[in-house]
């Protein structure tokens, strides 16, 4: 027993004798200031890797900013909304934002419906539950780079999918077809992330009370009715979370258009905002424009998340 072990230990030399701490210090640091010391590395990390870059991103987006040698003092004049204007009037940027909207319209509803249906099918005692659960999250834990390679193989011009479809195969093929490239990426990401969302829904389903299902079946509701009237409202907080997380994942899209469609092809039809940020900021050396795209993207994600929350949590 852990408690028993402690009683046998002598207090270490670092133990200060119990003394009355000054009340002022307690108000200043709290009852256990040691907490500050323990949390300090994490606080420094958050400040250095989140807060400061966040501020720098906003600063860059309002200034003329370019890469300079370390230590060199260069003028970075304030340019107001100029970077935003440049970014928004660029057809490539406009296209990438439309692409991500198209992506989300396909990906988010598909993710919510499939993960909830699969999670409620997996819920309860069924044969091979562990195997099925693992099967569903294997794509989630595997690197995008690795699974993208198989999808390239499957959906290439003479690939297995087109072989199966025979005369129904799209022409031009999936990944080089400007109408089909983005939907295929949306389906790929749905497939890849689904396992994680199934786990979230499985956790949420444990909180739906059994009595509600019993009451529904007493009232003569079938499987479908009780799914719609008990399960769906019962996991609503989880649905909000799934929608918001799926939106953030979608806005972060980079690897798939970079590899699957060879850099957002054909002709920018599957370029994502993050891919365009990479091209503008690092390949073309305009980090200020890239920062502006990032700020617009984040504002967009926040707005979409808030709207979703309102819609999903009303009543």
């Amino acid at each position: 027993m852990p408690t028993a072990t402690v009683t046998t230990h002598q207090p270490g030399p670092t133990m200060p004798p119990p003394k009355r701490r000054s009340r002022r210090l307690t108000t200043l640091f709290g009852r256990q200031p040691l907490g500050m010391a323990l949390a300090a590395p994490y606080v420094v990390f958050l400040a250095a890797v989140f807060a400061y870059p966040l501020g720098l991103a906003v600063y860059m987006s309002f200034h003329r900013y370019f890469f300079a040698a370390p230590g060199a003092v260069v003028a970075r004049p304030f340019v107001g909304l100029q970077n935003y204007k440049t970014a928004l009037s660029d057809p490539a940027v406009q296209r990438s934002f439309l692409n991500v909207v198209e992506f989300l319209i396909i990906n988010v509803p598909l993710t919510v419906v499939l993960s909830l249906v699969l999670a409620s099918s997996l819920n309860g005692a069924i044969r091979g539950r562990t195997f099925l659960r693992v099967a569903y999250y294997v794509p989630y834990v595997t690197a995008s780079v690795a699974v993208v390679a198989v999808w390239l193989f499957l959906f290439s011009n003479g690939g297995l999918v087109n072989q199966l479809l025979g005369p129904l195969a799209p022409d031009p093929s999936w990944l080089v077809n400007s109408t089909l490239a983005m939907p295929l990426i949306a389906v790929f990401v749905t497939w890849k992330q689904l396992g994680f969302f199934i786990l979230l829904y499985l956790a949420a389903l444990q909180n739906v009370s059994k009595e509600l299902y019993e009451a529904a079946s007493v009232d003569g509701a079938g499987k479908f009715r009780s799914f719609m009237n008990v399960t769906v409202p019962g996991v609503r907080p989880a649905t909000t979370l799934v929608v918001i997380l799926a939106t953030i994942t979608g806005a972060n899209l980079f690897t798939e258009p970079y590899l699957l469609t060879n850099g957002g092809g054909p002709d920018g039809a599957s370029a994502s905002p993050v891919l365009v940020m990479y091209q503008k900021g690092i390949e073309q050396g305009s980090p200020d424009i890239a920062a502006a795209i990032g700020v617009i993207l984040v504002i967009g994600v926040l707005v979409v998340s808030l709207i979703n929350r309102r819609l999903l949590e009303r009543d």
Binding site: G30, A39, Y42, Y136, V150, I248, G294, V298
Partner: protein, 276 residues
């Protein structure tokens, strides 16, 4: 609850599982075939198998070196996350100090800040200002402490009964001793869950290490394989076998880890995050 004998549900679940697993099967088959066979009969390898593709990808990007780089990157992140995550999680759950509420709110906020906004300023800071481009330090830094891990540690420490801590304090144990000898052994299951969850981040990450490492000898496998895919995609020959062999090597460690420790990656382990 009795085992459900609902055949339609079982059939749907199994068909679903096939959709999820088939690409992995195809990855392995494709990596073992001497020639690219995209026909329907190619699903079952009939012309024998070969390890030639593995030799080919190894000749192009030095698999062992790439794996070592992935390992150092991932290991560094896990080490920092476990050490600093335990400390921060314990402080957040068990110690009353000024700013605790703010820190907790910040920890939650960080999880909704999209990484893509930070990419450009982080690149400017780490590569341009600090000169950490082409270094393991530069790769690890933005991922060093996984906030989800801090949250999981906090939830586990919070679930321990208060009496345990009160008793130890009466016995005169210092806070650090309580953390080390009492709390930590009791949250050992959380340790495995955290390692699993933290592992997939850096091991699979492409964008950040791709920006930071221009030096081929420092690139993790995800980056060198991605470069190989995008470089050869334009060429006429079809090096799919080699690409798939690289994919198998990249995927195998994670899949093996998650299959072996699947008990620690379940909804109940992660559930604390979505309840309430």
């Amino acid at each position: 609850m009795s085992r459900t004998r609902s055949w339609p549900r079982m059939v749907a679940l199994v068909i679903g599982a096939i959709f999820f697993l088939f690409p992995f099967y195809y990855m392995i088959i494709g990596s073992l075939q001497a020639k690219r066979d995209t026909s329907i009969t190619g699903i079952i390898p009939t012309h024998g198998v070969t390890l030639h593709n593995y030799a080919q990808i190894n000749a192009s990007l030095d698999l062992l070196r790439s794996l070592v780089n992935s390992g150092i990157f991932t290991g560094g992140v896990i080490l920092a996350t476990v050490i600093f995550g335990v400390l921060a999680g314990y402080a957040l759950a068990r110690l009353h100090f000024r700013g605790r509420g703010t820190l907790f709110a910040l920890m939650l906020l960080v999880q909704v800040v999209p990484f893509q906004l930070l990419i450009i300023p982080l690149y400017v800071m780490i590569v341009r200002n600090y000169g950490l481009g082409d270094s393991y330090m530069g790769m690890i830094l933005p991922f060093a402490i996984n906030s989800v891990a801090v949250f999981i540690f906090r939830q586990f420490f919070l679930a321990l009964p208060e009496d345990l801590f009160a008793a130890a304090r009466i016995d005169g144990a210092s806070e650090l001793r309580i953390l080390w000898s009492i709390a930590l052994p009791l949250v050992r299951p959380a340790l495995l869950t955290v390692v699993l969850i933290t592992f997939i981040g850096p091991w699979n990450e492409l964008l950040w290490p791709f920006l930071v490492t221009k030096d081929v000898s420092l690139q993790p496998l995800a980056v060198s394989l991605a470069n190989y895919i995008s470089n050869v995609a334009g060429r006429a020959t079809n090096p799919y076998g080699a690409i798939l062999a690289g994919s198998v090597v990249l995927a195998a460690p994670v899949v093996a880890l998650f299959v072996a420790f699947q008990k620690h990656f379940t909804s109940s382990e992660l559930g604390s995050g979505v309840k309430g």
